[in-house]
């Protein structure tokens, strides 16, 4: 009995460390890809000098940040100043606990290892709840710097996060109504049963979710909190070295979370396109390459990675193209457009589901 418990704990620890390291490792990759992709879009070549065609650039940057002097401003609130980056970073990683990375688990030494750390029945709620903790780190960081530009950045960020949490959550409700469950795994299974990615009935919801997600992660064109041409770099103006690095990592981890939730909720998670059309089965290529349980596992992982990458690419693409919104305009879009649209979307979905329930 006790051995079983020990093994369960061990498996969990292994899962957690795998997920953590996966996310932590993908952040440098994301940064590198961002610089490369945006560089290419701007007729540049991006980082080129460190490692083969610049592959190690982010590693070098990270090392540089680690080795830099840790500067704390003279009149900053020192403890809050130190604490703030961690408050941002930890929720960003914790949220990955419920993200399913693939469909089928693995049997190793007779133990089943699931491709998600845990499958909460309130997975979506968990993510929303956890990721809204991150905003405290930004506000506290801006406030504790005791400097004017960070303060402005923190204020902007507070207002922005508060107003975009609402449409973000409401945009997901439509999907939840289709799925009938809030568990991340359950949502994907529901899409398999419905033979339908929820993107199709939930176009409006997807768009709202993505816009709110971009705003939630402080990315262009909603990057008001850092807005380097207005507020120098907003809430982290006074941060340097690895404390700045933590903010940076958290930002990219949050982007991953938004992309992962969108993938799960609207784009069928680990499912291939049209999972019910049997002749498209060849798309799960790993089923034919790898033996036994590894095949479906890798195929699912592949689809998740592809879908998340598409979202991340969209992030970069938008950042390269659009001007930045202004603070008051951002607020008015959030409250005057996205929120009513999200509510209307819920009502429409409800009506549609009622109608479908009666006819079918």
């Amino acid at each position: 009995m006790e051995t079983q418990m020990f093994i369960t704990i061990l498996i969990s620890v292994v899962q957690i460390s795998i997920v953590l390291s996966l996310v932590a490792l993908s952040v440098p990759l994301l940064i590198l890809m961002e610089r490369k992709v945006i560089g290419f879009m701007q007729s540049r070549i991006g980082p080129k000098r460190v490692g083969p065609s610049g592959m190690l650039q982010t590693i070098a940057d990270g090392l540089k940040l680690l080795l830099k002097e840790d500067i704390i401003p003279d009149r900053a609130d020192k403890w809050v100043f130190r604490l703030a980056p961690m408050i941002v970073l930890v929720p960003a990683f914790v949220a990955f606990a419920v993200v399913p990375f693939s469909g089928t688990g693995l049997n190793v030494f007779g133990q089943r290892i699931t491709p998600w750390v845990t499958d909460l029945n309130i997975g979506i709620l968990f993510i929303i709840a956890i990721s809204s903790v991150g905003v405290f780190g930004i506000i506290l960081g801006g406030w504790a710097s005791n400097s004017k530009y960070p303060l402005l950045g923190a204020l902007r960020s507070a207002a922005q996060m508060v107003s975009y949490e609402v449409p973000l959550g409401l945009a997901l409700v439509g999907g939840l109504m289709w799925a009938g469950t809030a568990s991340m795994v359950g949502i994907v299974e529901a899409q398999r049963e419905a033979h339908l990615w929820f993107f199709i009935p939930q176009v409006v919801g997807t768009v709202i979710y993505f816009m709110a997600g971009v705003a939630e992660t402080n990315r262009a064109p909603f990057d008001l909190a850092e807005a380097e041409t207005e507020l120098v770099s907003g809430f982290h103006t006074e941060y340097s070295g690895m404390r700045f690095g933590l903010y940076f990592i958290a930002e990219y981890a949050n982007m991953l979370i938004v992309a992962a939730v969108a993938t799960t909720m609207f784009f069928g998670g680990w499912l291939r396109p049209f999972p019910n059309v049997s002749w498209l089965a060849f798309l799960d290529i790993f089923n034919f390459i790898l033996p036994g349980q590894w095949g479906p596992f890798m195929s699912g992982l592949m689809w998740v990675i592809i879908k998340v990458s598409c979202f991340i690419f969209l992030y970069y693409w938008i950042r390269a193209t659009f001007p930045r919104y202004r603070y008051d305009q951002l607020m008015s879009i959030g409250w005057k457009w996205l929120l009513p649209l999200a509510l209307a979307n819920i009502m429409g979905t409800g009506a549609l589901l009622l109608w479908l329930g009666q006819t079918g």
């Binding site: 879009m41 701007q42 080129k48 659009f322």
Partner: protein, 155 residues
Amino acid sequence: MKLTRFIQKLILWELLVGMMVVIRNQFRPKVTVQYPKERIPLRPRFRGVPRLRYDPKTMEELCISCLLCEQICPDDCIAIKWEKAPSGKGRVLKDFIIDYQRCCLCGLCVDPCPTKPLTAIYMSHDYELAGSDRLDLVAGRTDLHEGRTVTIYDK
């Protein structure tokens, strides 16, 4: 017409058009020049720092110490030392100093240079002027003839 515009507005048409321009540029040739490794070919008239030259045929000094360039230099960065020629007519150039710290590369000194067809002073194609000492940038006659040694970094 109004309907089309409304639909375009609804599906964020103009934003998509902008995004397509950006993606189109992704496939255009890149314009980055990796500077120390690659260099832009200079045009023939490029104005680098001024230098002196010999007559290419006879390898004699072209400069006749007429001091016109010294007079026209807006930054007073040219100093010419000369003495009377032993034969009694003309001058012999003793030293020719250009302070590259002050030179603004305007090229005015080349205009009045009376030696024809090749001007004694000319704007060279050297543009890498960094040095670790201020005196590195004061070029004497030999420097002006032979050019400053420039470390070329190829990586």
